[in-house]
Symmetry: C2
Subunit: 216 residues, 2 copies
DNA sequence: GTCTATAAGATGATAGAC
DNA sequence: GTCTATCATCTTATAGAC
């Protein structure tokens, strides 16, 4: 890949992270890359397409970096611990911050929307694989949908990152609370047979209720 | 309050919701309000200040509208149900969509940051009050920090709303998963005394671990 | 592939008429 | 308070020299 092309890609990702969707432009990116502004359009057609390609690459690179860590997770507490560590590291590197800006821009821009969908999919799939493995031996597997849960977790990360940008203390308290709640899942994991049966009965009841709700 | 002022305020909130932070400008807002562009600066000084004031008002109005619903919640399943209904209604009205754009812009703009902090605080406080009431009789009260949990929930809502904008099916699956997970909490609520003691022991263990982690 | 130059328009913000 | 007119500056995007 040409030097200029890759310089523009990393510059675009950096600019999105630091200046936000509202502050991004061909000139800002080009200045960061140390190249001429016209090259944005020569190589990528539009600013949106450049940003979309840049975030795509950045997400791929980041996930590659974490793949090993994800693979080594064997239990839910370990997963929660990894989530916390990931948040801390990402706060410095700014990848989630970049994704949050991508998602915000994606609401009104078709090219960014495609990139945003890709990014969420990539992260969610990774988390889903871990959840599927970790929850398999647990009775929680009966009620938890790994795919949905992974998507909820990924989306929540974006929200918490945005919150972190305006109130770090508040966002920290939120993460702490979620981590503490993980204990709850552990406890259910070690439930006796009677309680386990009660759990299953409740799940079935809730399922029926949800079904009749959607029918109305 | 003058007619023009209030027209600008609602127009600013609408523009933020529909056009996003990246698409907002004094001219766009003024056109929506049907007034001259110069009045933005006469009444509010800067565009950011106008947007900040507009979101502040919108959040106050929305919370006022939901106050009754919040007050009537008596159990966790009811709270989860309200959360789902709120998400559906807000998807149409677009208040959370507006807040998501506010939070994205708040990362780089001081005036928007203040407004974002206020908005998150207002929603979190409301949710916190309900959580405190609902969780009080439950053994979960021991592990759950209502303030932190409320903040996590509010932030997650923002993230899921952004996700909803690029992949409605994925966001829906995420919400479904969270709702199903609520069953877990219900089960713990009806735990026997032995299991309850096991829960408390685990919590204490986790607390110690967290403390030693932060010491390192 | 990279540059300069430039078009055609949008932006925040202000001065001054009314 | 509201308007017109205007500023300097920014934007995307293209044409054409090198």
């Amino acid at each position: 890949m040409s030097d200029t092309r890759s310089r523009l890609l990393t510059a675009a990702a950096d600019a999105l992270r630091d200046d936000g969707v509202a502050g991004i432009s061909a000139r800002v990116i080009a200045a960061r890359a140390g190249v001429n502004q016209a090259l944005v359009f020569y190589h990528f057609g539009t600013v949106s397409e450049l940003v979309a390609a840049a975030t795509r690459d950045a997400v791929d690179a980041r996930l590659e970096l974490y793949r090993n860590d994800f693979a080594q997770v064997e239990s839910l507490p370990e997963l929660l611990h990894l989530g916390r560590a990931l948040h801390e590291r990402e706060r410095e590197v700014g990848n989630v911050r970049m994704m949050a800006q991508l998602m915000a821009g994606a609401q009104q821009d078709a090219a960014l929307a495609t990139a945003g969908r890709y990014a969420m999919q990539a992260w969610s799939d990774e988390v889903e694989a871990v959840l599927r493995r970790v929850l398999a031996p647990s009775p929680i597997a009966v009620i938890a949908d790994p795919a949905g849960l992974a998507r909820a977790v990924s989306a929540s990360f974006i929200g918490i990152q945005l919150y972190d940008g305006v109130d770090a203390a508040g966002a920290g308290a939120g993460l702490d609370a979620l981590e503490q709640l993980g204990v709850l899942v552990e406890v259910v994991d070690e439930l006796g047979p009677i309680a386990r049966r009660a759990l299953l009965a409740k799940v079935r009841k809730q399922r029926r209720r949800a079904k009749s709700d959607s029918a109305v």
